[in-house]
């Protein structure tokens, strides 16, 4: 349906797109991702013939878009901008009707009621466009574009002003339109929404396509790191894949810190410390325990025990090795039972080896189901107790 061949475009000498080639087939539902200024909007405007490429060509149904007159192109391709200014008091109904321009004769009336009903914006009908909120405007702009009854719909971040519920509704609605036969190419900022809704993605960076294809193949942590300059982590939860991000580390890694945790008690510190550039290790955690899962996603070194098992001698030794390599050991707010008593032992061992030992939570007794752990930790000297994880972070910011 659409074919771009070696399309190059620059704004005042600054290249916005370099040698872009790709094609869309009828019925495609493709997202475009990429950092700000990577050329996403430019790409859409080139396909809609509003910008003329300096090199290369854009074909729509085998014919260069520049060869279409604007009216017949508007019947085939509709563009949904992020926003536009209209400071004059037209009603929403009138604004939507303007979208019909390419299909209706002069002085002919077009009633957009059924379209507005389908989109759930009938209640806005008689409101004045300039008085709408950003989110309402985006819906009206989409309605205006759909009044063109296009074959190809280009959207430029259509959800940027919508709240989360409308974002999902919007993409569900787009998917429905796609099933009815509309081809869709959509610039989208939110990478998680991109993963959730789009089967195929194109990733742009500095005017070039750096990846395209199946969404989960495009949005890999490595590629996100190289194009966006942030760290990304992939999580799988309840059958879905989603991403979380943290800023890229600047400068050298800081001190090594070992966390003794389990059951999710270490998650907060794990992430905070890793993002602050500390080299973090864990131990002993059970495989598939939530701390272990997160540790794996963050790529941390860990002493791991089999699922739901007591800590064996082997894992205990591994834990001690990790402690040996670190400067600070933090025992998180974990409940103590017979299965993980060896972790308390390791903590005390760390103190003996001259490592600093910090313990989170002063409520030891309430968490102690062995009767021994509290005694072990309070009988030795040098343990520093903290009220909360946040205090630990605050202390660390002063330097270890």
């Amino acid at each position: 349906m659409v074919k771009l061949r070696d399309v190059t475009f620059s704004y005042n000498g600054k290249k916005a797109l370099r040698k872009i080639s790709f094609s869309l087939r009828e019925g495609d539902f493709v997202g475009v991702v990429g950092p700000n200024g990577s050329g996403k909007s430019t790409l859409l405007k080139i396909i809609d013939g509003i910008l003329v490429p300096h090199e290369g060509e854009v074909l729509f149904k085998e014919k260069p878009v520049q060869k279409y007159d604007r009216k017949s192109l508007a019947r085939k391709i509709a563009f949904v901008p992020q926003n536009f200014n209209l400071d004059f008091e037209f009603t929403v109904e009138e604004v939507v009707e303007m979208g019909r321009y390419s299909r209706k004769g002069r002085w002919e009336k077009f009633s957009p009621s059924s379209l507005m009903e389908k989109m759930g914006i009938s209640d806005l009908k008689h409101r004045f466009f300039p008085e709408l909120s950003g989110g309402e405007r985006q819906k009206v702009i989409l309605a205006q574009s759909l009044a063109q009854e296009p074959e190809l719909l280009l959207l430029d971040e259509p959800a940027s002003h919508l709240d989360v519920s409308y974002q999902l509704k919007l993409f569900d609605f787009l998917r429905e339109l796609n099933k009815e036969g509309l081809t869709i190419l959509c610039v989208i900022h939110d990478l998680n929404l991109a993963l959730l809704y789009f089967d195929e993605l194109i990733m742009l960076s500095e005017g070039e396509i750096v990846a395209s294809g199946k969404s989960d193949k495009v949005l890999t942590p490595e590629r996100i790191e190289s194009t966006y300059g942030i760290r990304a982590y992939i999580h799988r939860h309840a059958g879905r894949t989603f991403l979380t991000f943290s800023p890229k580390l600047r400068g050298k890694r800081k001190e090594k810190i070992h966390l003794i945790c389990g059951g999710g008690s270490g998650s907060f510190l794990m992430r905070e410390l890793a993002e602050r550039g500390f080299s973090v290790s864990l131990g002993v955690v059970n495989a598939l325990d939530s701390d272990e899962v997160l540790g794996r996603e963050l790529g941390l070194t860990m002493a791991v025990e089999a699922p739901f098992s007591s800590i064996t001698e082997e894992a205990f030794k591994h834990n001690l090795e990790l402690i040996e390599q670190s400067e600070l050991v933090i025992l998180t707010r974990v409940p103590f039972g017979p299965g993980n008593l060896k972790n308390v032992e390791a903590a005390v061992e760390a103190l003996k080896k001259g490592k600093k030992l910090w313990v989170v939570g002063k409520d030891l007794k309430e968490r102690d189901f062995t009767g021994k752990a509290t005694e072990m930790l309070t009988s030795v000297e040098g343990v520093v107790f903290f009220e909360s994880e946040k205090e630990v972070v605050k202390e660390l910011e002063k330097g270890v």
């Binding site: 509003i50 901008p81 536009f84 200014n85 037209f90 002069r106």
Partner: protein, 326 residues
């Protein structure tokens, strides 16, 4: 729906009343009864009332109506295209070009009809071409450059007009009178020339959709299927032509082209279907009434009509601005 027809009726009523008052009153008192008789009989030679009515008032009033409608339609178009409510028919510099043309004709002692009008028209036309070519780049016309170039060219031409006036060493009364705008002494001849604008008053009604869509910006208009460059070219030409003819017929009459489209928008909203309709009738009526006032206020001497429109138009415009701000 009903209120719409009532409104349209009121507009027509105002239009006809304005026309009736304009032809009925003047320095020479003609009673209403006589007016009716004269109107029905047509021109009767030897009857002073009939001659005054048909030879002096009728063409003058008709010309005022046409000029008022032309300036208002031109203003409505340009305010829409520039997305700027402060635009008026004179922003493109066409009027100053016309004024320069007229001054040149005056300088060389050419007769007012047809030469002064012709020079004014040509002055306006070439100014338009000049400003337009400045704003044109790679096939696109930038409305901002057009606006700024228009302002610059206007002041340059005003300077030239002043130089010519100083250099002429003649009695400038007639020229100043012309520059301020006046319908004084205009007859059937001038009216016939100005009839050339009639089709151009109605062509904009074919571009209602385009004018409305262009309020969303040129890019959005392209996306929705409007041939923006062609539409702009046609509408600029029409607005400039209307302005040039109006100026060549009656000089530079201020504020009508600025205030009337505003007033129309205030009354019925921004839809150009209504803005153009109202501008056409209100512009004509208000210009007729202004000229009436110019004739009778200090009778038997006459004021330039441009003074009347500015006297009422400027405060009214300030009132509009204040209202908008609150």
């Amino acid at each position: 729906m009903r209120s719409k027809w009532i409104f349209i009726f009121l507009v027509f009523l105002f239009f006809f009343l304005s026309f009736f008052f304009s032809v009925s009153f003047g320095p020479a008192a003609i009673s209403i009864r006589e007016i009716g008789k004269v109107l029905i009989q047509g021109e009767v030679e030897g009857n002073p009332a009939s001659v005054i009515f048909w030879q002096i008032r009728m063409p003058r009033v008709l010309l005022a109506f046409i000029v008022g409608a032309s300036l208002s339609i031109a203003g409505a178009i340009l305010q829409g295209l520039f997305l700027n409510p402060l635009a008026d028919p004179y922003v493109t510099g066409v009027s100053s070009g016309a004024a320069l043309g007229a001054t040149v004709a005056f300088f060389f002692n050419l007769s007012p009809i047809p030469w002064l009008s012709f020079f004014a028209l040509m002055g306006g036309f070439f100014t338009l071409l000049f400003v337009y070519s400045l704003a044109r780049r790679r096939g696109f016309v930038s409305v901002y450059v057009l606006l700024l170039a228009g302002v610059a060219v206007s002041s340059f031409f005003s300077a030239l007009v002043s130089v010519l006036m100083v250099k002429s060493g003649k009695d400038l009364h007639a020229l100043v009178y012309w520059l301020l705008g006046s319908f004084s002494g205009r007859g059937w001849m001038e009216l016939k020339i100005s009839l050339i604008v009639l089709p151009f008053l109605f062509i904009p009604f074919f571009f209602i959709d385009e004018l409305n869509i262009l309020l969303q910006g040129e890019e959005r208009a392209l996306e929705l299927g409007v041939e923006v460059e062609r539409v702009k070219k046609i509408l600029f030409f029409i607005a400039s032509f209307l302005t040039a003819v109006a100026v060549s017929a009656s000089g530079v009459i201020g504020f009508i082209g600025l205030v009337v489209p505003h007033l129309s928008r205030l009354l019925l909203g921004p839809d150009h279907k209504k803005v153009l309709f109202l501008s056409l009738f209100l512009g004509a009526s208000l210009m007729g009434l202004s000229d009436l006032l110019a004739r009778v206020a200090f009778a038997p001497s006459e004021m330039p009509v441009g003074v009347v429109t500015s006297f009422f138009g400027a405060p009214f415009f300030l009132y509009l601005l204040k209202r908008r701000g609150s």
